[in-house]
């Protein structure tokens, strides 16, 4: 899961992202006018990364993570848009054991999802997407002793847009996504299967929309 196939998918996504950027910057005005882009800041909560049992139960969790989200989309049908969303987080992570918490350092994560957007009602719209999520530990130790990992990711969300000028909107977004987590080090230590990790993020930002 972390080797060649994800690299191929990442390459594909990079191509699509490059296409969107080119469409937004170097294409005819008609296409440029249809590109919708946004930037948001917020927080991401994540469920347990891994569980272990060494006399006492040990749980590994990320702290609440500051989040930067960037998105761009193009219309594909009268009511629907397709687009890419990049979400970056950076936070500490810790091990909890019998009421004691041990700080284990910092993890940066980055996700790229290809998704669809559509209207719910009024200013509210939905988003569903799938892509890849990368974990980049600041220090290669513990469960990340052999480095970070890249996982497949799927998610859904809601966006609320309130126009503040003829082109600019304020956007509030909620995202839920899910992936299966493990690392090369955990596998080398005899961990089998993977841990289901759920993340919920809430972000607020601005978007240049099409009306």
């Amino acid at each position: 899961m972390t080797g060649y196939p994800s690299a191929a998918i990442l390459a594909c996504m990079r191509t699509i992202l490059a296409g969107l950027i080119i469409a937004a910057t170097g294409s005819p005005r008609v296409l440029q006018a249809q590109v919708d882009y946004n930037a948001r800041l917020g927080l991401t909560w994540a469920s347990t990364l891994a569980r272990d049992d060494i006399i006492e139960e040990i749980q590994l969790r990320q702290n609440l993570a500051p989040t930067l989200a960037l998105g761009a989309s193009l219309p594909i049908a009268p009511l629907y848009r397709a687009g890419l969303e990049v979400m970056l987080t950076s936070s500490g992570y810790h091990a909890s054991e019998a009421g004691t918490s041990t700080d284990l350092g910092t993890i940066n994560t980055g996700s790229v999802t290809l998704g669809l957007n559509g209207p719910v009602s009024g200013r509210l719209s939905w988003r569903a997407g799938a892509g890849l999520l990368g974990y980049w530990p600041k220090e290669e130790e513990g469960i990340f002793l052999q480095g970070g990992t890249t996982r497949f990711l799927a998610g859904i969300g809601l966006d609320y847009r309130a126009p503040v000028s003829s082109h600019w909107d304020i956007i509030g977004s909620l995202r839920y996504d899910y992936h299966r987590f493990s690392t090369e080090e955990l596998e080398a230590r005899g961990f089998s299967q993977t841990q289901g990790v759920q993340r919920i993020s809430a972000t607020v930002g601005i978007g240049r929309g099409t009306r």
Partner: protein
């Protein structure tokens, strides 16, 4: 909207349901509870010790002889790499008064 959303939601729910199992830790039947049992004249004595989280990092002072500080640092690195959850961290200090452990050269028995 239903033309897109229903299949997407069903696919997402199906994928989540199919992958509900948690990660499975390896069996650790041979774990020891920081106890060492030693026979004594009156039976078996239990010696218990471990570095608690508040003790970390354990401070080592090594005599500057035969490259000992470097070897101690290498030993600390090796031990740290064995632990997944930060149970042990060590550091070499230059002042022996602040050390938890003092390492000196000696003649092998």
């Amino acid at each position: 909207m239903m033309r897109f959303t229903k299949p997407l939601l069903l696919a997402f729910a199906g994928w989540a349901l199919m992958s509900c199992a948690d990660i499975a830790a390896p069996s650790r039947g041979n774990a020891y509870e920081w106890r060492r049992l030693l026979s004594s004249g009156t039976g078996v004595d239990t010696f218990s010790f471990h570095w608690s989280t508040s003790d970390l990092p354990v401070k080592y002072w090594a005599e500057d002889s035969l490259n000992l500080p470097l070897h101690v640092q290498h030993g600390i690195d090796q031990w740290e790499a064995l632990f997944l959850y930060g149970e042990y961290k060590g550091v070499v200090v230059t002042d022996s008064n602040t050390a938890d452990v003092i390492v000196m050269t000696g003649i092998a028995p």
